[in-house]
Symmetry: C2
């Protein structure tokens, strides 16, 4: 039963968040901490990310409290010190959150989110923040590439059947809509987000009729204004002839065949032949839609070879971000109780302190350089990207409409230089570390090495 | 708000299921259909699949009905013929479902599920069935490989932070537990499925203290019986020295350090050096746990090189099935109104008719061959794998415990020949097509080609 019920956000976490929280509580550690969420590096063929997921996370933080059934479960584990669960029962988020609004383009090492709160609170949000922002940012970043490859042709998200769960299906529809998809096949996303839904027929529909032509005609009877015929059930070119016949039958009723869809086979040549056939019959306006294992690479290949594709459905490879199914996203403590924090684990640099991203634009309005600096720095002529979302536990930036987020992405996209938009970029966008940040990083790193590496000189014996 | 609320299963679908359903309804097509769900082919390095997800799907089918808000949304689209939504309001699943129980090992082209129902009902379940079975089967198949590579060492699922959503995180915990993981870090999975939860501390915990040793001691104060120290925050070998010190401090209290965790760096050499240090101090029982970008390939490599790893946490690469983030799983109409159905789309063979998988075992009990045949065939000496789950809309096979499913997987795993269990198998398990199925397939394929391919001879003009 629970499988289709809601989740309590406080349970969407790794168990160690609770053991650490119990220790902070036991030690009386109530100092303010800042945690910074960022992507360490690019997956292959990526040169930018698109921020997404903040609305989901903000909603979860607003609702974040310990429900009785959650507390009961934690109690049943029999692991926590007396009093800790009572403390959780009174838990409310009282901290601050700064973040990139959804739809903004950002780069590796730049914080997408910073949480400043009593350490226990910031710690408990880690897994929830990562899971939420990781998924939508991953998908939006993939979807933007598909939109670029489609060169203005409308795209529809067809991914739900093979996304990694229902969540992922919803977020694919939402993220791809942010980056310019026209709509989705996902009915739940249509209902929850108001995204336009599209779709007409599957092979099962065609094959359930005695003859393909019977199926075509039956569909047009019930949806005469919106018929897109699937052509590849038996033989695409034979089906295209039947589509011409149906288009003419519709014309006699004052209607028009909307389009056809090719879902398998040699999409390059089939799309050309089908388009030629329609043109030959004066049916230029019948759209040729492609689907079936498409992604940005295949789309670009087909279009650059001259495929006659007017629109495309992008499914599985978008919905699982198949060529890069995860980002190396992390959520790290960078300051505690006024003390800047680093860790020294190899290959996992974390920039110290509360930070800000300062973006500068060239005279034509094109993005020129980002500076990663400390939050309190002021860098004239730049745009600070992280905005206040929560202050003292209160949400200070209201929920945004999907249309506004979509518009924000369009604005950033227009300002991103072309060389980063290509499918196999060879350059990285310049993100400079401010002098103040680098100086602090070096100082703290040296101190930590001196104190923690080597013999046990720094260890006081236990009182 | 809705983001953390439940989903109605009838909305977890592609829009075209409703347009097709509307046409079936309008045409009065009430014949019985069978839809077959299977994986077309193996991803690279795969030679078997582990069936999972049936409990989720069965729960959704049991709850499947059109809620008023769903109907209201569909009505708001303004696309459906009068009367169709009233029909949906009365909709109940009255069909039959046959499926592989969870935990069974199966192979490409073998149906994992067959739905036999009035066509409209079977059609509406397509996306839901695919999304549900695809995710859990994908993850269970990946997790089984990790268990094999760990050669008996306990594994814990650490994936939640970067799974593709909360759903996927839950299903990773569940699927990996089915295939033999010891537990998960995922608290929600612990609560919903009763899976043991594990975890101790992150780098943030260590760095929040003035000194690493302070953090180690503080943790041991609150969890003296269950302390696993994270060693790679500053310098793994320096931290190992501190761990030895703490272990001795714990010994004085009659307690024992449970283990240490290495999360970055050269895990081969670090694990050996750390293990040596503990042995040198007579602390042989302190477990060395590894984590950080692990998967079956890395585990096998480390263990074959002699890494001293007693247990491992497997995260992102398991949770997104990184080397194979999707399966080519399909749900196809194979029979309608007594008529066997095929489609001819290139590269997408679907075997016709209601089917059964017949498995035979050698004298030692090892799996020998599967036969894919028609459901009504009887093949002596074989085990038919598909079992009745729903009959006439009623669930006839009760919900199973996760322990039972886990046991079933163990049984099948013990019977699977070793050559298919290796990480890079070079052979495929033999799945033979029965004579009856092949004969039927050939006959129907020929008829379809004759009738649907070529000129428009088969098309009767529209009355």
């Amino acid at each position: 039963m629970h499988l289709w019920n809601g989740y309590h956000p406080e349970m969407v976490t790794d168990y160690y968040q609770f053991t650490m929280a119990a220790s902070y509580w036991k030690e009386g550690m109530e100092g303010t901490a800042t945690f910074s969420l960022f992507v360490r590096d690019y997956p292959p063929h990526r040169a930018y990310f698109v921020a997404a997921g903040l609305e989901s996370l903000a909603a979860a933080i607003q609702e974040y409290r310990f429900h009785p059934d959650s507390l009961e479960y934690l109690r049943s584990l029999g692991k926590f010190p007396k009093g800790f669960l009572d403390y959780l029962a009174r838990f409310r988020f009282t901290g601050s959150v700064r973040a990139l609004p959804e739809g903004r383009i950002f780069f590796s090492q730049e914080p997408l989110l910073e949480v400043t709160a009593p350490i226990l609170q910031g710690q408990l949000l880690e897994t929830l923040a990562l899971n939420t922002l990781h998924l939508e940012t991953l998908l939006a970043s993939k979807a933007a590439r598909c939109v670029a490859a489609a060169r203005g042709r409308p795209l529809v998200d067809f991914s739900l059947r093979r996304t990694q769960g229902v969540d992922a299906g919803l977020k694919t529809a939402r993220s791809s809509y942010i980056t310019g998809f026209q709509g989705t096949s996902n009915v739940l996303a249509g209902r929850l987000y108001g995204i336009p839904v599209y779709g007409t027929m599957a092979h099962s529909y065609i094959t359930s009729f005695q003859h393909e032509m019977d199926a075509f005609r039956a569909y047009a009877r019930v949806f005469p204004d919106n018929t897109v015929l699937l052509l590849d059930t038996y033989d695409t070119l034979s089906a295209a002839e039947k589509a011409v016949l149906l288009a003419k039958e519709l014309q006699k009723q004052g209607k028009a065949l909307r389009g056809v869809r090719l879902d398998s086979g040699d999409l390059l040549h089939l799309s050309q032949k089908v388009k030629d056939l329609f043109r030959h019959h004066g049916l230029d306006e019948v759209a040729v839609m492609a689907s079936g294992n498409l992604d940005e690479y295949r789309l670009e290949e087909l279009l650059s070879q001259g495929a006659c594709i007017d629109a495309a459905g992008i499914g599985t490879r978008l919905g699982v971000s198949a060529d890069a199914p995860y980002l190396d996203m992390a959520y790290k403590l960078v300051e505690y109780d006024g003390r800047p924090i680093v860790k020294l684990s190899p290959g996992k640099t974390t920039w110290v302190g509360r930070k800000q991203v300062f973006r500068s634009y060239g005279s034509s309005g094109v993005m020129e350089e980002d500076v990663l600096g400390l939050a309190e720095e002021e860098i004239p002529g730049t745009e600070p990207l992280l905005l206040d979302i929560f202050r003292n536990g209160e949400r200070v930036r209201p929920e945004e409409s999907l249309q506004d987020i979509r518009r924000r992405f369009q604005e950033d996209w227009a300002r991103l230089p072309e060389k980063y938009k290509v499918l196999r970029p060879t350059e990285r966008y310049p993100v400079r570390i401010s002098d103040a940040l680098r100086t602090l990083q070096d100082r703290v790193t040296r101190a930590r090495k001196r104190e923690e590496v080597g013999d046990l000189g720094g260890v006081r014996s236990e009182e």
